[in-house]
Each structure stands twice: as C-alpha cells, then as structure tokens.
C-alpha cells in the first residue's frame, strides 16, 4: 500500500495549521481511513495537546530518526478513533535535529502502512518547512483572510509550485459579519489574489478554542460550524464532491434595506 502524504503549511504562524491537521486527520480516520499525523514542528510540540494525547507520548520523531526507537514505538494511538495515530515532535531538540532525507524516509515508511500521512508544518520557510515539504506528495495551504497571512501564503504557494505543484487552500477564521460589512476579504477576493484551488472555508468559531482546552478537536462533535467545515474538507480530500457553502457576503434585499435604513 502507498498512502498519500500531505503537508499542511502556511508561511505565517498562528493561522490554524495545527488545528487543521488534527481535525482533517480525525475527519479522515472517522471515514475509515488509516491516518498518521506527523508533528513537524520540532521544538514546539503542540499537536499532541490539541489532540488530547499528550499524556501518552513516550518517544518522539527525533528518537525515531536517530535510531533510539522503532517508528511504531513512537506512534501514539488515538483513544477515540483507533485508526488514527500521532508521531509526536520533540519538545527539546532544535529545528534542524532532522534532515530532509530522514524526514523523507520516515514518510515513505509510514506510507506503506497508512492511507494518509498528514504533516503539520512549522511556521516559516526554513529547514522545518523544507523537511515537511520534502516528505509530502501534496500540500494544503492554510490562510486567514488578513493581509499578512495572505501575502505569506502567496510566497509559500510560489515555493511549493516548484516541488509539489499546485496546493489546495483552506481559508480559516472567516467571519460572516465582517464579510457582510465589507471589512473582510471574502472567498472570491482571496481566490482572485492567490489563484489556487479552494479546499474549504472554516468559519471563526469559539468552539475551536474550547476544543483546544479539552483536547477534543471540533470535528469530533458534529454541530459546530467549524467542525462541520472540517468534516466536509475531509470528505473532499477523499474525492467526494461536497459543495462549499457560499460565504460571500451577500445579504437578502430585506436585510440590506433594514441595514441601510436603521444602521447595523
């Protein structure tokens, strides 16, 4: 078997890569796929915490590539969905504790056993970025609809085009209120600017913060707007044709009139 290795990247930090990796991974696993998540953020380990498996981490990715343990010893199995595993990052090593060849080999090895290898990329475009990209076959770029993340996303897309080809885009933290007021770039604006394929839109949602507190990603509990969005994204990755709900700030005429006459 040879699975698909997908890197989740952004350039800019703090836009939602780790959250996206956890939710997409759980989404794919709940569709019956065998999934391993690699925390590629060496030195700043977080994916274990977001997944809620931090207490069960024993070995990490640096132990694996330096031969201190076998890959299967380092893998942490998810308690909720048994086909999901995490390869934790090391919290104490430097970003360059792993080189590109080691990362590529590890990914190739994991692809033998898993349908999906999802790799959470660190912020920036240095060694950590190059490693995770080298280990992947495809890329997902995450951005928020703000000027700096979009600019950084463009840079990353440019870098990816020469290696992995055209990435797919997730626009995270979209606020419908702000879009309707004309104070936030909408999906069409972002696509006009970045000219890539849209994989999905995730709304701004308090549930993400609560999920982080609990170590239980939003996709696990249906009903939250962000969880549903990640569920749809997972199905799109599996090739299902799931429409992207229009989140372009279009109001009904009645609402518009009300707003014009009576303010917001």
């Amino acid at each position: 078997m040879s699975g698909r290795a997908i890197v989740v990247t952004s350039g800019k930090g703090g836009v939602g890569k780790t959250t996206a990796t956890a939710n997409i991974g759980l989404g794919l696993a709940s569709q019956g796929k065998k999934v391993v998540l690699i925390d590629g953020d060496i030195g700043l380990r977080n994916l274990d915490l977001i997944l809620g498996v931090e207490n069960r981490v024993v070995y990490n990715i640096v132990d694996v590539v330096s031969g201190r343990c076998q890959p299967r010893q380092a893998l942490v199995k998810d308690k909720r969905i048994s086909s999901l595993f995490l390869m934790p990052a090391s919290q104490i090593d430097e970003k360059d504790a792993i080189n590109t060849d080691q990362m590529r080999d590890l990914s190739a090895q994991l692809k033998e056993e898993f349908d999906f290898v999802l790799i959470d990329c660190p912020a920036g475009i240095e060694q950590g970025f190059r490693n995770t990209v080298a280990a992947a076959d495809e890329a997902i770029v995450v951005t928020t609809p703000d000027v700096s993340p979009v600019r950084d996303a463009d840079r990353v897309i440019g870098l990816l085009q020469s290696s992995l080809g055209e990435p797919q885009l997730i626009i995270n933290r979209m606020s419908m209120d702000m879009v309707k007021r004309g104070d936030m770039l909408d999906q069409q604006d972002v696509l006009d600017i970045l000219a890539v394929r849209l994989l999905g839109i995730v709304p701004e949602d308090e549930a993400v913060v609560i999920a982080g507190n609990k170590g239980a990603p939003v996709v696990l509990n249906g009903g939250s707007p962000s969880g549903d969005a990640y569920g749809r994204i997972a199905r799109r990755i599996l090739g299902e044709d799931v429409p992207i709900p229009e989140l372009n700030g279009h109001n009904s005429l009645a609402k518009r009139l009300g707003r014009i006459l009576f303010g917001r």
Binding site: R151, D154, G158, V179, L185, R259
Partner: protein
C-alpha cells in the same frame, strides 16, 4: 441621515466601501512586486533601458519619464510607462 451617509450605507450593504477593498488592492500590488522579485537596482536598470530605447526614436523629457507597476482587480499586473513626448515641427525622430 445625510445623503452621503445613505450612499455609504447602501455601499456597505453590498459589502462595498469597507476596508477589504483597500486590503485587496494593496495585496495585489505588493504581491505583484513579491512575485516579480526585482531588486531596486534591477528596476532602475530596466527603467534606464526603456528610457534609452525610447530616446533612440523620440525626443522625450527625461525628467517627466516614469515607470511603475500597477495591479488592481480590474487592471491586473501591468507596467505603466509614461513618457512626455516633445513634439516639434518636422519629423519626431531627430539626430543627436
């Protein structure tokens, strides 16, 4: 409510007139620059070459010569060159 206020509200209700238009035009411009990846020296060399090329054929005012990159939703990725041509009597081309 004044008329300008009303117009602003109408624009707003269509998602226009908010700060995102500014975000979009600024991004398009800065990304064009990022993507071109020309250094200041390279841009200056290009400017000089274009100026020279035009001057081979026309008499232009070097002071007023400008070259700039523009990009907007309607007018994407263009280089605008503006050269004030000095038109005298007789043919435009001249000998130096």
């Amino acid at each position: 409510m004044t008329l300008t206020e009303l117009i602003q509200r109408i624009q707003h209700s269509f998602g226009k007139g908010g700060s995102k238009d500014e975000a979009k035009s600024r991004l398009l411009l800065v990304l064009q620059d990022d993507r071109l990846g020309l250094t200041a020296e390279e841009k200056e060399a290009l400017r000089q070459d274009i100026l020279e090329a035009i001057r081979k054929h026309l008499k232009i005012d070097a002071e007023g010569f400008t070259m700039e990159f523009v990009s907007s939703p309607t007018d994407q990725n263009k280089m605008h060159v503006s050269a004030p041509v000095q038109v005298g009597r007789g043919p435009a081309n001249f000998s130096k």
